[in-house]
Symmetry: C2
Subunit: 492 residues, 2 copies
């Protein structure tokens, strides 16, 4: 029995190796088309944070739907309602695109690929070397806003399906797509949509795949965790309106001085979070974890050089990775209401809002963090004896996510990486937050894998974001191969 | 001898009283015209800080020149060159308007009235109740950007001259005008222009009058001092570019954290300046000064209520006025380079510039302050052991100004106030800076008086700036009367 079984497995493996060679050649011979497709997508300024670009965002979703429809998918553009802007205006949300490539009678597993096609804001004046909405190839890197986050990975998934179809090969698993257009501003409307499709679109989904992240180095990686995010507004309000600092300076207790004072109490110069209770809540760093981190290929010096600083917060690889992935941190992003333009202005701002976030890790709880931060800042503020008013509010409370890398879904990922890149992947975590992972897990109770193809130096959310040709094309092959590997998982 | 002299004086006084009644009636009967003129000036968006409004600023200077020309003045629009914007663009500066109403053969004194017709930025969205560029009369207050600072006072001076002319009365003194269009952004180009006209336009000027300030309460005031201003940029630079706070947070020492830390070291919660040496340099507060302050009509409670805070930095009148006028203070205006928009952005800003100013008083020296602040901040920063770079730069170093209120110029002011308002003026100082006062004094060596007609609650530089009809119209009478009083000063 074992012999026959093993022989069959070997046979299937041999057949797939043959098929894979064909698929691989197909991908290589279509590199120009793939780049053209990415150029078209990048040219659409689908900035979800800018209400004036909502038209382009709607257009983007239509383009995605049309591309999937042409491939033969059963496509739906799901209306997820409207959003209300701070000024009271109501704006229609971009539709969510769902697509299904499903053999109705079959017994195949079904994967659902999640991605997004909205982007962060970008302007040439921010310091881009090229027009952010005109994909520009420089030495094999494709520069453009959204290239890596997340347009090329979404296209790579579509091209993976396309390759099977073009070669008249059966898809090894059923493939569904869930593509949204509000990820960069908090996936507005998505949670409710996922909840409403729990018993329809998601009912036959076995696995969820997210490729909205990147490798740690030049070595491919599988991602098994993300940090959460508790984003705070600390608002200090004083005078009725802005005052002239010459005329009034010295007579009023300025909201800016108070705000600077409380923001300065959050974190020490060496990076220690000063809010009581936060560090104590963090999960114990196990020896096994330490060994995993230790074995990861990661060059601290090139990471440092890439960022462009003389010294990092930690110079030891394990400590650095631990503080990137599994320890919380405080970042102060900026102040709303104060003078922020170039030049000089002699103003005493009347109301200022400090914005900071605490990256959330197991076993911290957002609700507890909100309480800890609010109480601490109010106590620091009380000591100042200021007549101004402080309001602390947590505006985002996104939980972290963590997967078990010993499950079959990750083993499939390791096999696919091995096939395409001939190396074992790093098992890594992500410092950032992908809240949809938690939502999809909580609502569908399906297993999730994060399968990144972005490079470690893609500059997400920054100037000069890029996707390399190599990662884009080899990434497409990885997805092709992964569909096969998932089909080998024995269904429960 | 004494008898005859006194009789002549009395006779002249009686004649002027008669003349003044006529002038006063003229002003009262032209209130509508004066408001129409102010409406026309306010409608011109002469914002000197906004390069896109430069056309309107040029137009504003033309309108001023034309109005003075029509009155019969010898008008010149003086070209003062160009300015370079931070982006390298060169922009022509608005011309400076000079006008002369001078009897060539006479032995009259000559006054030069300084004013400006550029304004601070204003947008309805900033929180204005009315369109800032459409003068709106609500309960006798004329709301509009630049109404009080400084368009109505400039118009009041022109109308004062106009009244004499319209009634065919000889001007009691020669009157010159010096009207600029760059005051709100630092009087770019004016110093050189004043220097170049030292031996021509300014050669026969005896006194300089500035009405670019306001009263302290409802009681008229003469202003005898202003604070200077040392404006600083503290720039902290770290990574090569902005980073995603999820991806990089916890691994880099963030420039924002460093900047918040050093800004927090400038001033204590109770308003004490923590930069060593600054407080020690301040001139001794004499008993005589204390008595002057004590006698000034100033209601701390209504000042507090107007600002809209529960408590001021000092609740004692003398202490409050002293810290407004003759003690230095630190104001933190804002941060350039950080996130300042509404909403959330998970960014680690790569380079941030903290902007703060120290109001400068006798006997502080700007050059010394620059050294003290720079050394102190660098030492605070050094203790943080940050790999980021700190640059401290003083971008404005404007000296304070102080006059002797016992001089004839101020006695003339007291007499004019007495005639128009039937009260003695408060002798006050200004918390803000009027750098041109120092320039005019240093270059021309002429005496200066500040003769305000703005109200204490005009909201300069703020939302809902206004000029009251009362101050505008009675202020015009004050200027008319002041020209007469100056003519009574015995020439040296």
């Amino acid at each position: 029995m074992i012999h026959r079984c093993a022989a069959v497995v070997l046979l299937f493996a041999a057949v797939y190796s043959f098929e894979y060679e064909e698929l691989k050649q197909y991908v290589d011979s279509h590199e120009g088309d793939y780049i053209k497709a990415l150029r078209e997508w990048v040219a659409i300024e689908s900035d979800s944070s800018d209400a004036t670009k909502r038209g382009e965002l709607h257009q983007m979703m239509e383009v995605v739907g049309e591309k999937l429809r042409k491939l033969g998918g059963k496509v739906e553009l799901v209306d997820i309602g409207t959003q209300q802007l701070p000024d009271g205006e109501t704006l229609p949300l971009p539709k969510v695109v769902t697509a299904e490539f499903v053999d109705d009678g079959g017994n195949k597993s079904t994967v659902c690929v999640y991605g997004h096609v909205d982007v962060q804001p970008a302007k040439k004046e921010d310091g881009w070397s090229t027009d952010p909405y005109n994909l520009t190839d420089i030495n094999g890197n494709l520069y453009g806003r959204g290239a890596s986050d997340n347009k090329a990975p979404v296209l790579a998934w579509i091209h993976a399906v396309e390759a099977y179809k073009a070669l008249n090969m059966e898809l090894p698993v059923n493939v569904k797509f869930l593509i949204e257009g509000m990820e960069e501003t908090g996936s507005n409307g998505l949670d409710a949509m996922v909840e409403s499709k729990k018993d329809s679109f998601f009912s036959d989904v076995d696995y969820i795949i997210i490729s909205d992240c990147g490798w740690l180095s030049r070595r491919p990686a599988l991602t098994y965790g993300t940090r959460g995010n508790c984003y705070f507004f600390a608002e200090v309000e004083g005078p009725k309106q802005d005052l002239h600092s010459g005329v009034y300076g010295g007579t009023v207790i300025e909201p800016m001085t108070d705000l600077i004072g409380i923001l300065d109490s959050l974190i020490s110069p060496s990076g220690k979070i000063l809010v009581p209770g936060i560090r104590e809540a963090v999960a114990h760093f196990s020896d096994e974890e330490w060994r995993m981190y230790h074995d990861i290929q990661f060059d601290v010096d090139s990471y440092r050089a890439k960022i462009g600083v003389d010294r990092l917060m930690y110079n030891n690889k394990v400590e650095l990775l631990a503080h990137r992935w599994r320890h919380p941190t405080v970042s102060i992003h900026g102040i709303e209401g104060a003078f922020s333009a170039p030049g000089t202005k002699t103003v005493i701002p009347a109301k200022v809002i400090g914005k900071f976030s605490i990256r959330q890790v197991p076993d911290m709880e957002p609700a507890t963090v909100e309480k800890q931060v609010t109480e601490y800042l109010q106590s620091v503020f009380a000591k100042r004896k200021s007549p101004n008013k402080l309001k602390v509010k947590m505006v985002i409370g996104a939980k972290p996510w963590l997967a078990d890398t010993k499950r079959a879904l990750y083993e499939a990922g390791k096999a696919a990486v091995k096939r395409v890149f001939n190396v074992d992947p790093d098992l890594i975590r992500e410092g950032g937050t992908i809240p949809v992972a938690r939502t999809l897990e909580d609502v569908t109770h399906k297993e999730i894998i994060m399968l990144p193809i972005g490079g470690f130096d893609d500059g997400l959310h920054s100037q000069n974001e890029k996707m390399s040709r190599f990662n884009y094309i080899e990434g497409t092959k990885l997805f092709i191969s992964y569909l096969h590997e998932v089909s080998q998982i024995k269904k429960n």
